[in-house]
Symmetry: C2
Subunit: 301 residues, 2 copies
């Protein structure tokens, strides 16, 4: 198979992970971000700027970001659901913003209370504002591989949204596997349908065990950017007890074994996964957290 020399991992535990866990104090969030900043990770999604009634876990985003260490060379980003959130993220000093829109109409209404087309239509003003403030905007297309309410999502619909947000000024595209419905076949189908010159990132959940198979498929198709969540923080809000975000240490472990550079110190990352587990006080679903990397040996009998 063809494979890249390097892969860029974006750590989303502090945002997408903690947003789906019981609330954690601001100082613990800061501690988590700071610990992640010391692992060699090149990108960290730090917080989101959403209405505190919608997601109380992120109500302290300003404080968390103000207190977190900003390491030179790390690309920190914030997520926002709309123009107002983007404004707040820019005011907080973020130079990378992610704006989420769901390919599924039902999911977009459930997630941000409006039609997919309304979210897409706001991309123009969002991109204009961000660019004016010298920030970049990524369009995260949620439910790209399927919707928990609607089922399969037509890749052509996702491709049309890519075209629309690109036209509106998006700088990057991310495909969100919001509830773990991606499979190798769906990754292939999506990449067959989408035609873009923008940088592409994939965000997989491991809800049904396919996350690393999806990463492998995407790698073979030339994708070199992936989201992941330390320790698999976050779980799956749609299936209590099931896994959510793929664990960063599992992605890094597989990539390093393939000889692909991520810049991450795997042992340091596993130590942060242990911290994350203590922080949320529940068993996290990460094989590499529990078993260690394949190079960790058992004493001879």
């Amino acid at each position: 198979m063809t494979q890249p020399d390097q892969v860029s991992i974006r750590e989303v535990g502090p945002r997408d992970g903690l947003q789906n866990e019981p609330p954690v104090p601001a100082e613990d969030k800061v501690r988590l971000i700071d610990a992640l900043s010391r692992t060699g990770l090149a990108r960290i999604e730090a917080v989101s700027f959403v209405h505190p009634k919608a997601i109380p876990q992120m109500a302290d985003a300003d404080r968390v970001w103000a207190e977190a260490e900003k390491h030179p060379g790390i690309r920190y980003s914030a997520l926002a659901p709309n123009l107002k959130g983007v404004q707040r993220a820019l005011d907080a000093g973020f130079a990378e913003i992610e704006v989420v829109v769901s390919a599924s109409q039902t999911h977009n209404r459930a997630n941000v209370g409006r039609a997919t087309e309304e979210s897409v239509a706001e991309f123009g003003p969002i991109a204009a504002l961000a660019h004016e403030r010298l920030a970049s905007v990524e369009a995260i297309i949620a439910t790209s591989f399927g919707c928990p309410y609607e089922g399969d999502v037509d890749p052509a619909r996702v491709a049309a949204i890519v075209d629309a947000v690109t036209e509106a000024g998006a700088d990057r595209i991310a495909f969100g596997d919001t509830t773990g419905m991606a499979t190798p076949r769906r990754v292939d189908d999506l990449l067959d349908a989408v035609d873009t010159d923008l940088p592409v990132l994939m965000h997989f959940h491991d809800t049904r065990g396919t996350a690393l198979a999806n990463v492998l498929t995407a790698l073979e198709r030339g994708v070199t950017e992936f989201d992941a969540s330390v320790g698999g923080l976050g779980g799956c809000p749609y299936a209590p007890g099931a896994s959510g975000n793929v664990a960063t240490e599992e992605v890094v472990h597989m990539l390093h074994d393939m000889g692909i550079d991520t810049g991450v110190d795997l042992d340091a990352l596993i130590a942060v996964a242990e911290t994350a587990q203590d922080l949320v006080g529940r068993r996290l679903d990460s094989g590499v957290l529990w078993a260690g990397p394949r190079t960790r040996l058992t004493p001879k009998p």
Copy 2:
């Protein structure tokens, strides 16, 4: 990618799974095997014939097999560590026997108390006996992708064992990922090294999240037979708390999504995984068990 139309799954939950769980009553084992026989699975590893002091969980193998339903068309098999176990399996009426040998010297000594070469040397008499009784013998090469004591295992060593057991009369070869050290890269490396005309099966654990990525890699290389354990029964004896055998329903779920036929009724299989979970009384690590297949929708909000 190239992919087969059909894949043959061998269910190993009743043997490899239950062998690594606290002891379960014989009647529950029979119930599990009978339930699996009704899911469309074409192959089931039912029991093993090992010394009851070594593995007390399998001490009732004769009784379990005597009481289990034998469905026409299903290939039932038994595992044995040596000639004596093979004799017992043949006496019990099995027509398919698996004999395990570890590529790692240290692991073979820990597992069956002798050198790899001694296990390999017994393959001649084993194959002769089995063939005389009109049974076939599969060589399972454990630690094919790495050893928990020794670390990496040279694929050339595995290839040499394949040659030796083939020469001795083995009818099939299985590569065992005994402690979840297989990765896509290791699967590729092994298949680069091995040259065989015998049917090849791969047995993956999901200890570090790579199981389905390994299946995908093996599929691309032409492998069409896989072991899996319902519900992921078994865990990992070398890493308490970590996952063991890849869950059968996760393998079937991914393959069916790719349009690959396994003959298995996925819903029926998930129901058996629920039974298996009740039977061992602990949470089983299977995403498809917890979240259901990707086609299982959430009621619209």
